[in-house]
Structure formats: structure tokens, C-alpha cells
């Protein structure tokens, strides 16, 4: 610690050079933080998956339906604690190009299965008794400025009511917290009673199971029960289901990792190059330090510390700025929910900063360590 002023003085002897090196590291980690948010937005749903939840869909594909009476038969499978179901609404508000993730659900069993979502008790009670009631996530409340008590003409791009209209007037009874934050949940019964077709059919069942260990056997039993029927099922864990969903968007993760690697590799060279230049200019000073009795290791460590200081200052500031930036624009992106830099990115960032600093300083530090005092002093 007591060498910190010396290290600092070394950095400050060429202010412009240090500044530009710190800035390139800053940019690299800012980009890293923002790309972390992009990745999070595309795959974040997977992290919300409950290990004790299974998804049952029609084996043919997601848009094919299953009869709602499957629910009773599924509930009898040993190990199944709760069953709920949902039907895609194809909802939008005014602008059909801005879809809302809306489902028709069975309210009480839905809340039972989704313990990770919290709804104030009075709102929950209001919703349960309001036929045309919906609850929404905070993201929707923010995007459309909706409040509890608002009446909304919700439109569907799939369903028609028996008069041929596609508008459902709904009341906002509650705003939940936790879980997936951009959902609109209406009563399945309200949707099904009023819609003109596909009645008594649902798109998906969600099961809560007592013991995640038994997920495999329960899935087999459910699928076995409906084998060779008109609507065969495919049961998977919620995680596997969401993973395949995220993968359909494309391999964003791979692209992000590719870009970040390219950026960090460039930064490694820039920082390494700067460190090497800086050491080359200070050969005689190093020799003096060694002559004064600094150990070989001491000199090397000082070089490493200098390089680390550059990457940590630039990295921490850059990451913090990037995360703030992602948070600020996140709420303005309608089709990318959960656009924020995840905490796991921060941990990896610290690791990356440290490795970047150490790698960049490695060669110059070795040079400093191997320096022949007499020869270096003679040159000076």
C-alpha cells in the first residue's frame, strides 16, 4: 500500500497516455455491461423458471390446443401438487405492432402455482371476483401508464367474440410484483365464455410438483396418459421450455460472447502495449530502484499493480456507466423486457478486469524483473 503514491506518480508522468488507456478500458467494460443486458433480455426468462414447475403443451406445437378437461386427469397423477392452465390472448392495446404478453388464466390456481408473483391481498380478492378483471406486471403499468381501477379496451389479433368483435373491455384490478414482469393476465373463463371458437381448449398446462426430483417420471406419466389421443402432449420442465423459446430468437449469447471477446482482446493489446512503452521509458528508473535494494519481485509487482490499477479504474467506471445506461434505456425498449445488466455480469467483470490487468502487465513485469542493473544504469 505504501507504494501506491509511487505507482500513481508513474501513471501520472504521461497523463495523456494513461488517460487514453483508461478510456479504452472504460469503453470496453461499458460495452460489456450493455451487451450483458442484451443477453439478459434474450435469455433472462430462463432464470425465472421454477424447478418445481412443468409445462404441458400439445405435442404437435405450441399453437395447437388441448381440451381443458385434461386438467382434472393431470391433477390425479401422483406427485402433482397443483395444475393451472393458460391460453394465449394475442393481446395488444391500440397499436397491433406492439403486442402484449397476455394470457387467459385460472386465477386461483395460477397464483397457487406462481408463488414467485406477489399481489396485494385486497387486489387479489378484487381480481378473483371481477369477471372482466385483469392483473398486469409493472412493466406494462409503466409503459401504458395504467393504474389499478382503469378500464381498458383490450384487443386480440386471434379471438373474436360471438358478435365478431375483437375488443374485450377489461378492468385493471391489480399490479403484481416478481416473476415475469410484463404479463397481462385475464380470466380464462371470461375469454372462453365470450369467444366464438376453440372453446374449452387451452394452449398450455402448468404443473407444480411436490418434488423436482420426480420431474422426469411425472412428465412420462402425463404424456403416457394422452398418448394416441387427438391431442397428444409434451411435458417438459419450465426451464427446458423457456430455453427452447429463447433459442428460437437466435443464438444471441454466442454473438455477444464473440463481440466481447474481440473487444477485450483488443483492449488487452492496447493496455499491454502502453505498459510496455511505459516500462521501456523507465528502464533507468527501474535500475535505480533495484540498486536501492528493491527486490526483483518488488519491482515486478509494482509494474503489475500499475497495470491492474489502469484496468480496474477504467473497468469499474466503464461497467458502472454501462449498467446505468442499460438501466436507463431498458424501460424504453418495448419488445425487450428485462433489459438490465445482471449481477452475474458484475462478478465476471471483476474477474475480467483482474485478468486483463495481470496479462497486460505480465510481459513488462517480467522485463522489469530480469533487468540487469549494471547494464541498465550504464545506458542511462
Amino acid at each position: 500500500m505504501k507504494y501506491l503514491p509511487l505507482i500513481w506518480a508513474n501513471l501520472m508522468r504521461r497523463k495523456a497516455r494513461t488517460l487514453f488507456t483508461v478510456l479504452s478500458v472504460f469503453i470496453a467494460f461499458m460495452l460489456y455491461a450493455v451487451l450483458g443486458a442484451v443477453n439478459q433480455a434474450f435469455t433472462g426468462g430462463v432464470q425465472l423458471a421454477g424447478a418445481d414447475r412443468l409445462v404441458v403443451m400439445n405435442r404437435i406445437g405450441l399453437i395447437n390446443s388441448m381440451p381443458i378437461n385434461y386438467a382434472d386427469r393431470i391433477a390425479k397423477v401422483p406427485g402433482v401438487a397443483d395444475v393451472t392452465w393458460q391460453e394465449w390472448v394475442g393481446a395488444y392495446f391500440q397499436d397491433p405492432r406492439q403486442p402484449i404478453t397476455g394470457f387467459g388464466v385460472d386465477a386461483s390456481s395460477f397464483l397457487e402455482v406462481h408463488q414467485d408473483m406477489h399481489l396485494p391481498p385486497e387486489q387479489s380478492q378484487a381480481w378473483l371476483v371481477d369477471k372482466a378483471g385483469v392483473i398486469i406486471g409493472p412493466v406494462l403499468a409503466k409503459r401504458y401508464g395504467w393504474k389499478v381501477g382503469d378500464h381498458i379496451p383490450l384487443r386480440s389479433n386471434i379471438w373474436r367474440d360471438k358478435q365478431g368483435n375483437s375488443t374485450w373491455d377489461v378492468n385493471i384490478d391489480g399490479i403484481y410484483g416478481g416473476g415475469q414482469e410484463d404479463l397481462l393476465l385475464m380470466h380464462y373463463k371470461y375469454l372462453d365464455d365470450t369467444r366464438a371458437f376453440r372453446n374449452n381448449q387451452v394452449g398450455m398446462f402448468l404443473l407444480k410438483i411436490a418434488d423436482p426430483e420426480h420431474a422426469g417420471t411425472i412428465a412420462e406419466q402425463v404424456d403416457g396418459m394422452f398418448a394416441n389421443s387427438d391431442a397428444e402432449t409434451k411435458t417438459s420442465t419450465e426451464k427446458a421450455f423457456l430455453q427452447s423459446f429463447a433459442a428460437m430468437l437466435g443464438n444471441i449469447g454466442k454473438i455477444v460472447v464473440g463481440i466481447v471477446s474481440a473487444v477485450l482482446f483488443s483492449m488487452l493489446l492496447v493496455t499491454g502495449n502502453t505498459m510496455a512503452q511505459s516500462i521501456r521509458e523507465r528502464v533507468s528508473e527501474m535500475a535505480v530502484l533495484k540498486a536501492l535494494g528493491f527486490s526483483r519481485r518488488g519491482v515486478a509487482l509494482m509494474v503489475l499493480a500499475e497495470s491492474l490499477l489502469v484496468t480496474v479504474i477504467g473497468g469499474v467506471l466503464g461497467f458502472a456507466f454501462g449498467a446505468m445506461f442499460a438501466g436507463a434505456i431498458g424501460s424504453k425498449l418495448p419488445f425487450l423486457q428485462g433489459f438490465h445488466t445482471p449481477a452475474s455480469s458484475a462478478a465476471l467483470a471483476v474477474l475480467l478486469m483482474a485478468s486483463l490487468g495481470l496479462l497486460a502487465g505480465l510481459l513488462p513485469a517480467t522485463q522489469a524483473m530480469r533487468l540487469q542493473v549494471a547494464a541498465a544504469l550504464r545506458r542511462a
Partner: protein
């Protein structure tokens, strides 16, 4: 003239000495290379996706769906609707009646070849008219399916994207088996689909006689407006009518603007990072040339040739980085097949497309970065006091 001569001399001298500063120059070049490579690669995704959408369909084909559906998967049309559509003016007439294609769209959940995770494949039920309406669709291997049989043809891109989508194998979907008897291609979106017989599929998926969409081949692209007006003003119908090419162009807009936004942001930030790296390199270059510059100035060379020589060096580094970056992007990414979520909640496959225009833009960007990176060091070069620099000799 004299000025040009000076400029030439200073630049030539500078470049001849570049060898001595090779290591730090290489660092700047690698910085530019990285930026241009990422820039070209990201925009190659957009080019590829847009290209696939542009290649889809033709301007003289109209899609009719239920009003407000937005995508075929949300649409339902009855046989009666389809009859009304067939009666509209402007449709190409054939011996078998007006040239319309009634289509059904089902989604199949199938494992992808690369990840093994399930993804949605559009499975389109068509009759013989479809191949006349969708003129670009042609069989590239095997044969067409036979009406009345559980046979399908798969798109060329779909055949690369999914497990077991090869000629001669069988698709298992719920209780049904579909034999793959042919591979087709259209260079566009349909290449990501599976096509089978409409009547068989309506029975298998219990759709009765309902349809998702009707495609009509018009007598000419100009016949569209009259066709559309006729259907949208018909009180018995609530349908939306769109030109096939416009429909798919519209689909690519969201994706395009997302990639453009994200790509510009990434390229801009990386560019700034690379410029900072280049500034260090160029400062280093200027200070190592201090004596040389001072000598030239003492000999009577002006400030501007010296200034320009530094900028030329920066741009040269940019040019080298830009060319290498573009070449790497071309070799590594051009033609790579990938897919994303497209219309109908299903997968659209496309290839990265590194176009000459992209390569040019990448190189120009690199030149610009080199120029900006050389600016501050160039100013320092002309401001260096001649006397003290000479004393260091």
C-alpha cells in the same frame, strides 16, 4: 508544387521508418481490425435477414388474411371467405378458374440440428395452385408430394436447420408420420417451411375446411389496388389484403431496426476504444520521430506536411486494419446459416451476407478512425519545439 514535394518527402520518410515502430503499430492495426470485423459481421446479419425477406414473394401476389390478424398464424378464413376472394377482380384466370392458393398453417415443434432444443417450424398445407402462385418455389431434390398422401416437401434452409429433415426420412408429429419426398427452395422465407397436402392436413389437424390465408396471383402488380378495394369494401368479409412483397418487407423492419441500432452503437463504442488505442500508438510514433521532425523543420519543411504525414500514417494503419478486418469477417462469417424468430411465431432461417458495400463502409470507417486517432498526435508533432528536439540528438 513545393508543398506537395515536401508532403511526399515527409510521408515517404515516415512510412520508411514505420518498420522501427512495428509492434505498437500492429497494436493499433489489430484494434481497427477488431472494430471493422465486428461492424461487418453484425451488419451482415441484417443484410442476410433483409435479403431473405426481399427475396420472398412477388409484387403481383396478394395475401388475404382475416382482418387485424397481422400474421397467418392468427388468421382464420372459411371456405366461404375463400370463395369470395376467388371472385375478386384482377386475379389471373386459368383453365381451372382464378389462380388462388388456399393455405393452412400449422406449427410443428421440432429439435434444431445445432442445439437439439425444440423450435417452431411452419407447416403449410397447399394444393397444386400454390406452385403456380408462388412462382419462385421449385423442387431442388427429390419430387413434389402427391395429393392425398402423407407426403411432405421441406424447404432447403429448414433441411439444414432441423434434425432428421433429410430426403427419405420421416417426420413424426403427434400421431402422424410424414414422409419427406422432396426438398424445395424459393430463396426466401418459404425455404424455412415444410409443405404438405392441404386436404390431408386439414383432416390430420382437425381443422375441418378452415384456412389460414388465401394467396392470389394477380394479372399484374397494378391490379392490386382494385383487388384490395373490392375485398375490403365487401360487407360480408372482414379481411386484410396485403401485397406479398410488402408483407414480408414489413416483417423485416423490426429486426432490421434493432440490428441497425445495436450494431451502430457497438461499432461506435468499439471505434472510440480503438481510437484511444491508436492515439497512444501515434503519440509514441510522434515522440520517436521527434528528432526526425525537428530536422525536417530546421531544413525548412512547413508545418502542414508534417501534420499531414502523421494523419496519413494514422489512416494507413486504419486502412490496413479495415482491409484485414473486412477480409476476416468475409472468411469467418459470410454464408453462415442461422435463424431467428420471424413471422408466425416460427423460425426463419437466413445466411450472413457480407456485401461489397459493407466491406467498403467498414474500410471507410477504419480510415476515419485512423484519421481521428492521428489528430491529437499530429498537432503535437507540429507544436514540438525544434531546438530542444534537436538537442536530444
Amino acid at each position: 508544387m513545393r508543398w506537395l514535394y515536401q508532403l511526399y518527402t515527409v510521408c515517404a520518410l515516415n512510412l520508411r521508418n514505420l518498420k522501427g515502430r512495428l509492434d505498437s503499430s500492429v497494436v493499433a492495426v489489430i484494434g481497427f481490425t477488431g472494430v471493422v470485423m465486428v461492424f461487418v459481421a453484425v451488419f451482415a446479419i441484417r443484410e442476410g435477414f433483409d435479403d431473405t425477406m426481399r427475396e420472398t414473394g412477388s409484387p403481383d401476389v396478394a395475401i388475404v388474411m382475416r382482418g387485424g390478424a397481422g400474421a397467418e398464424v392468427n388468421s382464420v378464413l372459411s371456405v366461404n371467405d375463400a370463395k369470395q376472394v376467388a371472385g375478386a377482380p384482377g386475379i389471373t384466370a386459368t383453365a381451372g378458374g382464378p389462380l388462388v392458393s388456399d393455405e393452412l398453417l400449422v406449427q410443428l415443434s421440432m429439435p434444431k440440428a445445432d442445439t437439439g432444443l425444440d423450435a417452431n417450424v411452419p407447416f403449410r398445407g397447399v394444393d397444386a395452385n400454390a406452385f403456380l402462385v408462388h412462382g419462385k418455389v421449385h423442387i431442388v431434390a427429390g419430387r413434389n408430394f402427391q395429393p392425398g398422401l402423407n407426403e411432405v416437401i421441406v424447404g432447403l434452409r429448414a433441411s439444414h436447420e432441423y434434425r432428421g429433415f433429410s430426403l427419405g426420412s420421416t417426420l413424426h408429429s403427434g400421431p402422424y408420420q410424414w414422409a419427406i419426398v422432396g426438398i424445395f427452395d424459393d430463396g426466401g422465407v418459404y425455404s424455412s417451411e415444410v409443405w404438405g397436402d392441404l386436404t390431408i392436413m386439414q383432416a390430420a389437424y382437425r381443422r375441418g375446411s378452415s384456412l389460414e390465408s388465401v394467396y392470389a396471383k394477380l394479372t399484374s402488380p397494378d391490379a392490386f389496388q382494385a383487388f384490395k378495394d373490392y375485398l375490403t369494401t365487401n360487407p360480408q368479409l372482414t379481411v386484410s389484403v396485403e401485397r406479398e412483397t410488402d408483407f414480408y418487407a414489413e416483417q423485416s423492419k423490426n429486426m432490421s431496426s434493432f440490428i441497425t441500432g445495436a450494431g451502430t452503437f457497438i461499432a461506435f463504442l468499439m471505434g472510440i476504444g480503438a481510437i484511444f488505442g491508436a492515439i497512444n500508438t501515434m503519440y509514441n510514433s510522434v515522440s520517436s520521430r521527434a528528432a526526425e521532425i525537428a530536422t525536417l523543420r530546421a531544413l525548412g519543411f512547413g508545418r502542414s506536411p508534417v501534420l499531414l504525414s502523421v494523419l496519413v500514417e494514422g489512416m494507413l494503419l486504419g486502412l490496413v486494419g479495415g482491409v484485414i478486418g473486412g477480409a476476416l469477417a468475409y472468411v469467418l462469417f459470410n454464408g453462415i446459416e442461422t435463424s431467428t424468430l420471424g413471422t408466425n411465431f416460427a423460425q426463419v432461417a437466413f445466411s450472413f451476407r457480407v456485401t461489397p458495400e459493407l466491406l467498403t463502409r467498414g474500410t471507410v470507417y477504419a480510415l476515419l478512425m485512423g484519421l481521428v486517432g492521428g489528430l491529437l498526435p499530429a498537432l503535437r508533432a507540429v507544436r514540438m519545439p525544434i531546438a530542444s528536439s534537436l538537442r536530444q540528438l
